[in-house]
Amino acid sequence: MSSDSAFVRATDAVKAQLRTRLQPVWAVLCTVLAPLDRAIQPVADLYNRSLGRHFGTMTGLQFGVIALGFGMIATVPFWSPFYSETLNITFAVASIWAIFAMSWDIQSGYTGYISFGHSVLSGAAGYTIGLLILHYDPSMGPLVTIPLAVLASLVLGLVIAVPSLRLRGPYFSLITLVGVLLFTNLIFAFSEWTNGELGIHQVDPFTYEPWIRYYYMAIPMLVIAVGLTYVARSNVGMVLLTIRENERAVSSAGLDPTKFKISSFVLSSIPMGIGGALLVYYGRAINPVSFVEISNSIEIIALAVIGGMGSIIGPLFGSFLFFFLEEELLRDFIEDSSTRTLVLWLFVLGVLVFARNGVFRVVWHALGAVRGDSE
């Protein structure tokens, strides 16, 4: 296969060299971390026995990292001022995008049917709220508009999914891409209603207060994370994964893969709708650039991929990692915004080439292997 190539052989040799060089470092790390792993294990086992069935079992270190990660996410407003004034804001936005990335993952990451069109789902939700407030009743509160928005996203998801999931691989992706282009065209075609590129700004956000706003975004995000992980780890998730690996095997087992594919898309539309609604109430003006354009879809995919497709939690952390890099870390070193964007894309490319299962997955496996190696 590709091993025909001299270049590939050379890089394989380099990789092997690196592995042998880093082996002692890894051994040291294992020795150091193994006791920690053992120490946390009892707590992890407590979780394993009770919830492990539903969400996956973990070793001590893995549990520790998850607990630490979620703990940090839950307390961002308390520790973020120590780092910077804007980390709050960055992570609030990252939470919304984490919802998008996780929703994408349950569909595309699990079934392997890559959707480029997820931004139309959040766009439908956003524009539903915007149109309701602008043309129907400006005093409508979020408790009414948000469910309607999610409904719109759900319906649109069905409309897209039912005809297109009959198609295979890249054809499905192409249809979803077409969906984005069509939706964008529609927004401009009906600009007396949608206000075209100027968008709809009449929706009052929840608040501009950074602390409270962060929790408005993060709490739904965490709930969605739990919910989607539960589904992903259930039998449904297993079927979806099997569809990705070998769709024919699923049908020979007597299950209808198309039904599952459609379910995953519809399931994914619901949190997309929630995310879209949250984006509106975060304060984003509802316009095609922020909600619908193809760059949004690609960014969602990038977040999921660098975290680790097909894991739900991977995309969550992928989103936080990406936004942290883009808005905080890289800003300290690179002033020019187009160079920053370039570096970010190169980073995503690097992950795709060298760690295609995602950064989070690599870390996860490493954590799991700590005790295995040293004992």
Binding site: M1, S2, D4, S5, F7, V8, T11, G112, I114, P163, L167, R168, G169, P170, Y171, S173, L174, I175, L177, V178, L181, L182, N185, A189, I294, I298, I301, A302, V305, M309, D336, S338, T339, T341, L342, W345, L346, V348, L349, L352, V353, R356
Partner: protein, 302 residues
């Protein structure tokens, strides 16, 4: 409006040749490696900007003195540059990920996005134009009979495209290395069994596709303009043409290119610009649902 019909038809025929050239490169890569190269549009963009760099002194990059070369020199250099870029794209990135179509999909589109930033950085975000055919060489417009106001650069593009397609046809039918490409495109295992070095074939295909993209890009930039976002439209168009024509089929790409070229030009002229894009999308959806393997292609195999 009918008085303009001959002109419209001629313009459509001219632009379709360029579309065909663009689509062929895209479909060849898929036929041989099963890879959908979403960076194809970016290669087109590279062609336009490479030419701009060589022929006009409006862009400066480090190390490279800005220069103004004659089009007859700048053009081949630009094409070769893009061919090399395409080859490097395969060798440095794609060949490591081509076993996984999803990752390749994503990697190539990320390359396209990264390319946009590079272009913005060195050439700026604003649009630039260039004249490919100096007016002392040829007049800028031609006309014959009822047909008027045809741009010479479009005619030259048409001629060059067909020459390139002709050369390509000769290559894949008359030369061993070209035939190896065709063989691999038809059946990889079969090709391997007959001793074809599949990896080398793939690398060569990317080189050739890159050359085609380079030619297409220079003419595309000449007839409209060079901007950092110029890769998305031709990529979508190439994708649509290739799907309608049949993924992996060169003949299909040509036929579909003409179909789309006439459709778009006609619709744009008589129904208005807004419908131009929509009709192609509708046609695509229709084909996808009714004839997924396209007019001439084979079914997508996993």
């Amino acid at each position: 409006m009918l008085s303009g019909l001959p002109t419209v038809l001629v313009n459509a025929a001219l632009i379709s040749a360029l579309y065909a050239l663009i689509a062929i490169g895209f479909t060849m890569i898929f036929g041989v490696g099963g890879v959908l190269n979403l960076a194809h549009g970016a290669l087109l963009m590279a062609g336009a900007y490479a030419y701009l760099l060589l022929a006009r002194d409006t862009i400066s990059v480090p190390v490279f003195e800005s220069m103004t070369l004659h089009p007859l020199i700048a053009f081949p250099i630009a094409v070769v540059t893009v061919a090399v870029l395409s080859y490097l794209l395969y060798v440095v990135i794609v060949q490591f990920v081509e076993d996984n179509p999803i990752v390749t999909f994503l990697a190539t589109i990320v390359v396209a996005l990264a390319a946009t930033e590079v272009v913005i950085h060195y050439a700026g975000a604003s649009t630039q134009t260039y004249t490919l055919i100096p007016s002392d060489l040829l007049p800028s417009t031609v006309g014959f009979g009822p047909v008027d106001g045809i741009l010479t650069v479009d005619v030259v593009g048409f001629v060059v495209s067909w020459i390139a397609i002709g050369l390509l046809w000769l290559y894949v039918t008359k030369t061993d290395s070209g035939r190896a490409i065709r063989a691999t495109s038809m059946t990889e295992r079969g090709a391997r069994l007959t001793g074809v070095n599949v990896h080398a074939v793939r690398a060569r295909t990317w080189l050739v596709a890159g050359a085609l993209a380079g030619i297409g890009g220079v003419f595309l930039g000449a007839s409209s303009s060079a901007t950092p976002g110029m890769w998305l439209q031709p990529l979508s168009l190439a994708f649509i043409i290739v799907v309608i024509g049949g993924i992996g089929s060169i003949k299909g790409s040509i036929v579909a290119a003409y179909l789309i070229g006439f459709l778009q030009t006609g619709v744009g002229e008589y129904l208005g610009q807004n419908f131009r894009g929509i009709l192609s999308l509708v046609l695509l959806i229709a084909v996808l649902f009714m004839l997924p393997q396209g007019l001439f292609g084979r079914e997508y195999h996993e």
